[in-house]
Amino acid sequence: MSDAEFQERIKAYEGRSAVVGGVGRDPVNSPMIRHWCEALGHPVPVDGTAPATMLQVWTMAGLSGHGDRSGPYDELLGILDAAGFTAVVATDCEQEYLRPLRPGDRIAFDAVIESVSPRKTTKLGTGYFITTRMDLRRGTEPVGSHRFRILKYAPAPPQKPQKTAAKRPRPVINRDNSGFWEGVSRHELLIQRCTDCATPRFPWLPGCDRCGGQGWDTVRASGSGTVYSYVVMHHPPFPAFAPPYAVALVELAEGVRMVANVSGVPYDKVRIGMAVELEFTEVEPGLTLPVFRAKEEV
């Protein structure tokens, strides 16, 4: 069978029923609501109703499988399995809630295969998106609907050995800046100060950039600062960094500026003049960095 014939064959399932006259295994009930809330850390609704986002739960077949799926949906999945598209992952879920569900409500449902996509290649592998739409009722009264999309795909061959997650670049530590990184390891942000002219400097340098003096001591930064400037990185993406993210130039209370991340606010909320406070974050095991937390939430 050619690819075109195969696509035509699976496309023919659009509009066919996936479930006819399905019935929830259990009526809506308090123990399942409580277990679900417990697992998800969700507040238990005080009025005894089921959280709306449990909608699909009442239609799930559970461990013993789908006794009530009708032929076409199983057939379609079987055709894809046989063609090597053996893996499945859910990608989209769109739910509408028409009325609250209460313990004792018995849920009935029908579902239709709404669409079968052309062949798509994704990060996971090549396959087909199948969208079903389910309508849920209590008796004859609609209670909600549920559109669900899965990707039925042939798993991509395992990646090459570079499977390990990219790590952030490590700082280059040398005799001119080792004092700074020793401070960071103690959660202290140290600024150099010229012992000749008392000018603070950052980043660390062997000599004073004002008077050229070679002598220096350190001042521990108070941690207060403001965003002096910033950029938002969108492209290109570097390994271990997920754009978009903001890179700020923070002016410390001591008068020097340093490049750092701003935490506690989304990248698009960083603003010039924003008050920030120093904190130390272990960005990955073995790498602690000074970052600046926005003092007021936006």
Partner: protein
């Protein structure tokens, strides 16, 4: 509630327990959500969170923010990077529209859940706040 309002971020540690408990509480027994060996055999590095749990967490985020009087009307989500054990997901949200009427207001909130791999979930929640429902929306 006003258009442009931000919801305080919610950080959820993605533990193996949360993934398995969420899968079972949603009656989803697909082995990739509880059996690490089976997940690896299917090309995944580990078990990963099922969509029903993600959907519930998005609902939880909005519900916790707006209080018990808020009624969810629609939740539409799309999954991206999987939630694997050991990761953390940070949910953030922004109100993109508010329509008031005689009985209350209806708001649309765009929600993003990001983990170390990127965006796990992007979604849109439509929620109804009845007038005098006694809710005190948490203000950041």
């Amino acid at each position: 509630m006003r258009t442009g309002d931000e919801l305080a971020p919610l950080r959820i540690p993605i533990t193996r327990t949360l993934i398995v408990a969420g899968a079972i509480a949603t009656r989803d027994y697909q082995d990739v959500h509880h059996d690490a060996e089976a997940a690896r055999a299917k090309g995944s590095p580990d078990i990963f969170m099922n969509i029903l749990t993600t959907n519930g967490l998005v609902g939880r985020y909005v519900t916790e923010h707006l209080g018990p009087a808020a009624e969810l009307r629609e939740v539409a989500i799309r999954l991206g990077a999987p939630n694997y054990p050991g990761d953390e997901m940070e949910l953030t949200g922004r109100v993109t529209s508010v329509e008031a009427d005689a009985d209350g207001e209806t708001a649309v909130i765009e929600v993003v859940g990001a983990n170390a791999l990127g965006q796990h979930v992007t979604g849109r929640v439509t929620v109804r706040l009845p007038r005098g429902g006694g809710h005190e929306p948490a203000r950041p």
